[in-house]
């Protein structure tokens, strides 16, 4: 069996690397936290961790370069300049990229998303300031597009995850939104507790995203970006209602598997499963 290898970027103000690394390991991957400069250095000198050694590349959450000039903007410029071609090759070879929160912002600024017709250098969509003008930490309900090509969300219909951002409002021109819709590239939408679309209602849709968009993929389904944080739901006790669910389901508080993973891990498990099936 193939060892699925994942690389989680670190450095320059990124900050969800430990839990993302942990989540990938829980999902069965061999995961490594690698500093952006280490990857760039290896690309330049040929020694050190090379992108080609990995199957899954994670652009995780955080505040790269403090997000001072638009979230993910400076990081995208740096990655494009130093690793642009390698990443292009990485995608062509059928490997997986996931961008979470700041990573999603970086992917859209790189143009890896939406990647219409596998054109990976056009900035066509944006993640801009939340309509309420402020950072928000809240759990959201997400409805997954069943016919999306996204390999990360297979078998998931709805999922609850936390969002934590000040710049998560998905914005694009109407023709591009139509194209995303048509291609089933809108992978996740904010919804209510029953799974109905949020229709822009705050805080169900926490940022004012057009069409309640929380995550999109490229046309291959192998590049995926989302604002919510699957790595922050790695254990069932991450869920905001877990003490309630436990008490209501089982008043004696017994019979729960204390090791139960959080639903967020399913997204990483899908990636591992895909790699295992594809690269074996």
């Amino acid at each position: 069996m193939t060892h699925v290898k994942a690389l989680v970027l670190t450095g320059y103000g990124l900050n969800c690397d430990y839990e993302t690394d942990y989540s990938l390991k829980l999902a069965g991957a061999q995961s490594h936290r690698v500093h952006i400069n280490e990857l760039i250095g290896a690309s330049r000198t040929g020694s050190g961790p090379a992108l080609g050694d990995f199957h899954i590349l994670v652009f995780g959450g955080g505040f790269s370069w403090a997000d001072d000039h638009g979230a993910g903007v400076v990081m995208a410029a740096k990655i494009r300049r130093h690793l642009g071609e390698e990443i292009q090759r990485f995608i062509e070879e059928g490997r997986l990229i996931i961008g979470i929160c700041n990573g999603f912002q970086c992917l859209v600024n790189l143009g890896l998303l939406p990647g219409f017709d596998q054109e990976y250098d056009k900035r066509r969509v944006a993640l801009t300031y939340n309509d309420k003008g402020n950072f928000i930490d809240t759990w959201v309900n997400l409805r997954v597009e069943p016919d999306s090509p996204c390999v990360f969300t297979r078998g998931i219909e709805t999922i609850e995850l936390p969002v934590r951002h000040g710049e998560g409002k998905f914005y694009a021109l109407a023709p591009d939104i139509a194209r995303l819709t048509e291609n089933r590239q809108i992978v996740m939408r904010y919804a209510d507790r029953e799974g109905n679309p949020a229709r822009g209602r705050w805080p169900l849709n926490p940022n004012g995203s057009l069409e309640d968009i929380a995550g999109i993929c490229d046309s291959t389904g192998r590049v995926f970006g989302l604002m919510p944080h699957p790595e922050a739901f790695n254990h069932w006790t991450n869920h905001p209602d877990w003490t309630r669910l436990k008490a209501v389901r089982n008043p004696a508080g017994k019979g729960f598997d204390p090791h139960q993973k959080g639903d967020g891990i399913r997204i990483f498990e899908n990636a591992v499963r895909y790699v295992t099936a594809t690269f074996s």
Partner: protein, 997 residues
Amino acid sequence: MLARLEIRLKKELFDAEGAGIRKKAREYFGFEVEDIRVIRVLTMEVTLDPSRLEQVRTELFTNPVTEESSYSPMARDFDWLTWIGFRPGVRDTAGSTAVEAIEDLLGIRFGPEEAIYTSKLYEIRGNLDARQVETIAGELLANEIIQQWKVYGRDSWDPENGIGFPVPKVILDHSPRVTPIAIGSDQELRRISRERSLALHDSDVPVIREYFLREDVLEERKAVGLSLPTDVELEYISQARSDHCNHNTFRGLFRYRDVATGYEETIDSLFRTCIEQPTLQVKEKKDWVVSVLWDNAGVGRFDDDHYYVITGETHNSPSNMEAYGGAITGIVGIYRDPMGTGKGSKLILGMYGYCVGPRDYGGELRPLLHPRRLLDGVVEGVRDGGNKSGIPTPYGLLLFDESYIGKCLVYVTALGIMPARIGEESSHEKTTSPGDLIIMCGGRVGKDGIHGVTAASESFSEHTPAGHVQIGDPYTQKKMHDFLLEARDEGLIAFITDNGGGGLSSSIGESARFSNGCRVDLDRVPLKYEGLDQWEIWVSESQERMTVAVRPENLDRFMALSEKHAVESTVIGEYNDSGFLRLDYQGKTCAFVRMDLLKSDFPQWEFDAEWTPPELRGLREPVLQEPRDHGALLRGLLGRPNICARNWIARQYDHEVQGGSVVKPLVGKGRDVPSDAAVVRPILESRRGLAVSQALNPWYSRIDTYDMTAATIDEALRKVLAVGGDPAHVAGVDNFCWPTIQYHPEQNPDGKYKAAQLVRSNWALRDICLAFEIPLLSGKDSMYIDGNLAGPYGERRKVSGLPALLFTACSLVDDITLCVTMDAKTPGDLVYVLGDTRNELGGGEYYQMMGAVGLHAPKVTEESFRVRYEALHGVLREGLAASCHAVARGGLAVHLALVAMAGETGMEVDLEAVPGGTSLTTAQTLYSESCGRFILTVPRDNRRAFEEAFAGQPGAFVGEVTAGGRFRITRGDRETVVSEDVMELKSCWKRPFEDLI
């Protein structure tokens, strides 16, 4: 060459920042602004040809989907324009990241004279006059301490040149100079101390003079070319002797006298008798206490392989002047303490506590910043500092009291975690040895924060130098944090400490005590700009810096890691065992001081402490007849500022980052009621957790600070136990904020009373911590919470804040899956109240609502409480309770309602059944704030086991959780005291601040 890039959102996009300002303009001043749109400005002082300028514009700074930009003015549709930029020397992080981005994109390096400066231009539309626009600029958008602004009308705007090319560059045009200080007499030195803001304590002056006049000292100084003390040396001594660094107040001699009984006692050091001794005594019994009382933070054992680190402090004075800058500097600064504890720890959690004047303060005094603006700024500062550091902020407190308009209180608390061992060595140990290199990592040194320590040691007045206000930079620090953890894990760090108050002077001065000496080349310290005097380099408090000792053989690897993480590190000297602290500048010695000078006999500070008991101060229980409408009263109570929902703060603080969130700040069905404590799982592979809570009850200080302190510790303890914390493992952190206690007949006529308040508070700290076996892993004191505020007649009035202790409790949770939250879960569950309710409403919320203070403050009866807390822990471990909540301010009425509101269930409670309730009036039972109490809801099936666990204790079944949403309190069968709809209560509780996002 200068270029100015302006960037704005496309017209069709909603400008959220502008909308936020509009909303604040309405809330703050009642101005109706039609529209505000923001233009970001980058002034570039760098030589780039037009094609590269264009590349920078399009590839870096303009999002083609949402933004448009130009090197010409972009303002077009406005009635007014307001430009706001930083003053010279203020930290402009966005400017530096812009430089980084351009350097990388173009593969160039900026020269020393080249830079980027960011500023903002606000397009304002609406029917406003010039004065109103000035108000928006000066009292909402900008703070003149750190920013400058200009207002343009349509007539005064030049559409060709716009704002010109603002370049707030620091140009000092000054040759660094060491100044010898005359010490001819004590008076002369005192005068110089005042003139130079050295803040030398009068009684220290003779000791300092004596040292510099000693024959042997003169001789050894002569050998290095020195005679009179230099300004560098006196600054060093002053910093080291400041109250902030040396805790002279807590180490002082107190002559306590009770004026009622004539009882007298002399206390030689509150620190030693009430903090150090009890903690060492408790440490004997608690093998989990790893390291206390010497390092930047205390260390406790998390499990066999990990230690946790905890500390807390305040950042009051700077926040009071520049709320955002002060608060972000505070939170980012406290994060450096765990980073500098042992060989360094990873930050895992932050907490906050704010005490400010009422948000709607309309009195006649003029605080520097209106409490509303101050609070908004503080909230935002801690938000950016915590979120951008990638550290969860899952807990905090906010309280309003008019006494804090003189000076606000901003508490920040931080926890870290580290492996128990680094290679062969224990992680909590560190030392400097002769030959170790002194390395400064992180930010550069500027004039920032010079005399911050001494300013924090004095009351605020119009003469306080504003230069010590800074803006913390979490980005630079986060990079340094990641770097240092990697260096630590490779065993490269021999010693580490942070540069906070006193800068290098403190960090090197203190770390050199281990090796017994050091030599530093001040000219090797990297500066933000030229022209700093030697003493300024030495004491500057520029942020985001750590001092690290590295053995020479590890230097190359250390520097390689530093480069990988894009962190600046510089060797600036070395430790030795010479017995001297020696500072050189360009080969010339400018300070040469014996290491043991600071250990010599500086006179102890002395205080007269005179206690007048509350009865003699005229306090009485108020005369109140039983209210007829407790339902309306409860609704009113729930809407009071210190009881109501203040959720907008928690929501904008990231409390999930690092992936270990277990109990969140807001819990319950609607996820909107504050939890008693937060719980995190810092080691994701482990099911062990840390529970943290805080309490703050300054109002009881009006009666007796002993009771205030006892009740505060008890509340923090109960909150941490309520979620499942272990009473056998509770670490404490004490953060005192106190008004000036030095008696002065005109300036501080009640100083002796305030000193006695401090003594009594410390006695309670000692007694309660001993009784509950809580070691104080860390603590700090911040004195001088007074302000002299301008009144309407040109006078200044002194306002002293209520003495406050923020107590932090941190406990271990063996298995996080056994944690409980405070919300009622299931209709049919039984409601229990544990602990006696007594006639203890003094200083409480109900009396305050009635305009009274009262006399009977809540008392802590340690021994009986302790048994109860242990029983409670057993019950929670057994999983017998569905919810658990500590009763606090507002009493049973408020807290039963909170349990029901959190569960969005009904509740029926009979007051006759409440332990202790039979001898009290209805109002007393409902609103007493007696300590030691919990409310639990318990599934019916667990009734027998639950009651057995509390046999013989004051605890009783008082009612049940009901379906249907009615909150009903009765007194026996006869009388319905309260019958309210739970959701209606909840909306009363949420209403006051629900517009804040």
